[in-house]
Point group: C2
Chain length 595, copies 2
């Protein structure tokens, strides 16, 4: 059976030593998050994930969700109790406004808990995860009445939330959506239409489900400029706030999927369901974007989380499975064979996952802190800079962490040989679960286009220029540090590749947009690799500081892993640059019939 | 529902125009395989795969295999009839000796049929595939009596064959195996032990199952030098050749796996089962290697096959699914959106799979022809050269085609967005099925070690030197060809990377074998990429010859795709070289506890 231990120590190293979270204690909520409090909070979160969520991960996958003929959906054994424990522990409201029952702690801590929960049980973590996304959208765009009506009960776990965007004929291209909203004359609307791929759309966990639904108000303009966002409870609310009759909302079927079996993916039918506008008419996409950006960071975290749990299990197996002898002579001569962790190809694999996971965790927290700053700082310039970075990095986080996270789950599975292909081992589930993260919340190709087509050039390229300056500044400031030198050279080279790629787009993509499209995915990965490399030099610097204070096995491992990343992962940037500068000509040359 | 069309035209282009199969008509069996005969044979094979095997692929995955309490195993609906059609069409015996009922045609045609069948229905194709492997081992190492007893009925489809290597505690390291063989005194042996992961170990398709089993004769030396191969029929044979009582062979359970659900993966129990030695005592691995090499090429073909069928389905979807508009303006303004094949990122993905598939198909056939030459040529030097290449390229074919084949199935699935994650779409099955090919018949890390540790330096590096000479010779001979020039430069560069890597191993791995182990997988992929690049220049040259004879859409597509491969796939070789020359130091530096 699979194992999972939340990497609390590694998180604390990042928060305390690499990002120095204490210096943000002027932000609302951060003063409450002293180093001791953070350690206690994360320790509690880790316990919940390890002891409650992880034990029902494999069983949840095997059991899956069941839709009954009357439209009710049963979730796997233990999910309802786990949700109660999750909400009861205050995790849904961790970073939410205390006015509505939240704890007001940094969003950054919520991102950490999301990693642990998604590693322990990704299908489960989606239930509170979607609820938190819905809360965020309602908090920013909902009227006071809406907020008072829904937020406290969503935060305390009585009700859950979902997002309803996709329709059978449209996912990426939301301009095509057809779900209708007809004014009822009392300020509410009658919503009718069919939504598909609605995660957690129906379940037996909470007493009501608060759906956020994109729909088109009768007479609205065509395309994306005629889409509005509505809040649509599955069950009507009585005047006293209690849950009443069904509101014309039903689950028509659930999907038979490759993975995340424990989460019900529903076809949702809205049949004149009563809904209320969230935000302005025809500005639904804008309101939904609040939810989508958080959701994208959440999905990025799922990529890291599956990579981490797969890694932990591969390491445990590699230490235990005896097969062959070390090339340099038997390491455990008393045993019939050596554990496979002695083999360089096994270590290469484990090191490459480890080098990604630790940098990806840093990359997530670096940006989660920016999210806190963007929302909470009193300094407009600081807010703006944080928001610039978040805008730029959100597609990179989502695209790169889920692509590599999936690859790593596959690599970890490979360590098990034939046993990795057997369901009972539990590791093939990580591969199947990780796969969805590359697809939902905007498929990774769409993330790449968002990055190159929108984010890169926004405000005169302010975001990417700030990144160049920050990384370039670090390289300059530390140029004389002998211990860091072997890391800085490779990073400098790859930063150069990134800058050349950005320059190439400037010169070649404006007149010929296909050049941007054909290079977008490579650019996303190139920026991702340089970002992860930057995380590694920052971590190495902090590790060295700590080593000066005394020997520390964990910190010396950081320096080795940093070097591994530079030697073996970062060289990919040259290939990305080569592909980008090849341009779109051969990519676009064939006629449709020649495929 | 998924589609599949066997790429007969592409195969014929390779056999006739690229490899000029007619020049081998001095080999036994090749004279019978005139161009017309080949076309007719492949046309029949294609029909069987498209009309019989493909329609039961998805249903076979959904239904899976069932083991009954009495140990019987039921295969999915239609598999028995399909096997009868397959054997009845003469496909099992296609390349087998006519003395035992085979058709004696080139093995190369069998490799083609294996591609089509594995693309149409991989789980099914394993039943005849394993039988063909067992036939090959018995044909080379079995006594005349064994051959007369088993081969005709295996070739005509009455009985099937399997291979039994793995035990619970040993897969890669067969030296650890424990299954015992005790002489019965009558020339036969009593076999006892448990084998796991036995594909097609039990089924309801054929009247008997002929197991090839590795076991240790009482008193044999420890390790791999004490392993012998036995033929063990599930049911005893009566004196008149009819099938008698069970021979102490039973299926203890079947595995619940990630994919290939239509193929029963069995735990096999041998309880004093009567078996006969195949080949010499204690030389079982040697005898099994005949089967394993063919099986490895067969698994390589599965990688290509899943990549091809996934590609075909992704193309069909990309032409049909409407979403967004082309960056250069609407391509189909009358429709609500353009088909997604207009988007550069979609094309990039499809082109990269296409560029792999066509080169991989050539790579397979180039080596399948070498297999025919190695077995059938009357010229000893020609046989030796062919065998050198096969030895060198078998691990590359197995490792690279299955790694990239799987990646391509994932990429193809990505084109479907959320729909690709749903079982009914049929494309996630390709991903799950393709996954096993990276694992069985020697996990790909083991292939890499076989290549670098054994094959590369064998006979003074004769195999790799011949490859360098052949590719170098092509580059030189065609240096003045203006049309090929854009392809030759990149290939020259990558060939240089390969040569530098080989040289680096010579200088750095002998004294420090971990340097070979840490770079093995990268070297395998580097050699694979250069091989695929070489296939592309050969194909481009042939395509150009044909274009001189008149316009041909297929041939002009070849030239574009060749260029795409050079621009976008081949640049990976630099990263592989960088990783290899980084050596093993950081890879091996951490203590086991630091993972």
């Amino acid at each position: 059976m699979p194992v999972y231990k939340a990497p609390v120590d590694d998180t604390l190293f990042l928060l305390n030593d690499v990002f120095n979270i204490e210096r943000y204690n002027n932000l609302p909520g951060f003063a409450d998050a002293s180093s001791d409090v953070i350690e206690a909070v994360l320790g509690e979160g880790a316990k919940l994930c390890e002891e409650v969520l992880q034990p029902i991960n494999y069983s949840g996958d095997q059991e899956g969700c069941t839709r009954h003929p009357d439209g009710r959906v049963t979730t796997p054994k233990g999910f309802k109790e786990a949700y109660e424990a999750y909400a009861g522990g205050g995790w849904i409201g961790l970073a939410m406004d205390p006015e509505y029952g939240g704890q007001g702690l940094p969003y950054t801590l919520g991102a950490v808990m999301n990693e642990y929960a998604s590693a322990a049980n990704m299908a489960f973590a989606m239930y509170p995860g979607l609820t938190m996304g819905a809360i965020a959208a309602l908090y920013v765009h909902g009227s006071d009445e809406i907020k008072r009506t829904y937020l406290p009960k969503m935060i305390d776990g009585t009700w859950s939330g979902t997002m309803n965007l996709t329709e059978p004929h449209c996912g990426t291209d939301l301009g095509l959506l057809k779900t209708k909203a007809v004014p009822n004359g009392d300020g509410s609307y009658a919503i009718s239409g069919t939504k598909i791929f609605i995660s957690a759309g129906e379940q037996d966990i909470t007493g009501n489900i608060i759906h956020l639904v994109l729909a088109r108000i009768e007479g609205a303009p065509a395309g994306v400029k005629g889409i509005s966002l509505f809040v649509v409870p599955r069950n009507k609310l009585e005047a006293d706030g209690s849950v009443g009759a069904n509101n014309g909302v039903s689950c028509g079927s659930i999907e038979h999927k490759m993975g995340i079996h424990g989460n019900a993916t529903c076809v949702m039918n809205y049949d004149g369901a009563q809904g209320w506008l969230v935000g302005d008419e025809n500005r639904g996409l804008n309101a939904m974007f609040v939810m989508m950006n958080e959701a994208r960071l959440g999905v990025a975290i799922q990529g890291l989380a599956q990579s981490e749990v797969a890694y932990q299990n591969a390491v445990a197996y590699a230490k235990e499975r005896l097969q062959g002898r070390a090339l340099t002579g038997a390491k455990e001569p008393a045993k019939p064979a050596d554990p496979i962790i002695v083999h360089p190809d096994v270590r290469r694999t484990l090191m490459s996952i480890k080098a990604f996971n630790e940098a990806a965790r840093a990359f997530v927290l670096w940006n989660a802190l920016k999210s806190d700053i963007a929302h909470r700082s009193g300094d407009a310039a600081e807010r703006q800079a944080a928001d610039d970075q978040l805008g730029l990095m959100t597609p990179v986080l989502k695209g790169v962490l889920t692509d590599i996270g999936f690859d790593n789950a596959v690599k970890a599975q490979q360590m098990f040989g034939g046993h990795g292909y057997i369901a009972e081992t539990g590791v093939e589930q990580f591969v199947r679960d990780a796969r969805i993260a590359m697809i939902y919340e905007g498929a990774n190709g769409v993330q790449a286009m968002d990055l190159v087509g929108r984010k890169l050039g926004r405000d005169g390229g302010r975001g990417i220029m700030a990144f160049f300056n920050e990384v370039g500044g670090f390289l300059k400031e530390n140029a004389e540090d002998e211990a860091l030198k072997p890391l800085l050279g490779p990073l400098q080279l790859s930063l150069g590749h990134l800058q050349q790629a950005a320059m190439w787009f400037m010169n070649n993509a404006l007149a010929k947009p296909d050049n941007a499209g054909a290079g977008a995915s490579d650019f996303m990965h190139l920026l991702g690799l340089v970002s992860l490399g930057y995380m590694w030099v920052k971590m190495a610097k902090a590790a060295q500081e700590k080593l000066k204070a005394g020997a520390d096995e964990r910190m010396s491992a950081k320096l080795v892993t940093a070097r591994f990343f530079m030697e073996r992962t970062l060289p990919e940037t040259a290939a990305h640059l080569a592909r980008i500068t090849a341009g779109a000509d051969t990519t676009m040359a064939l006629s449709v019939e020649q495929f």
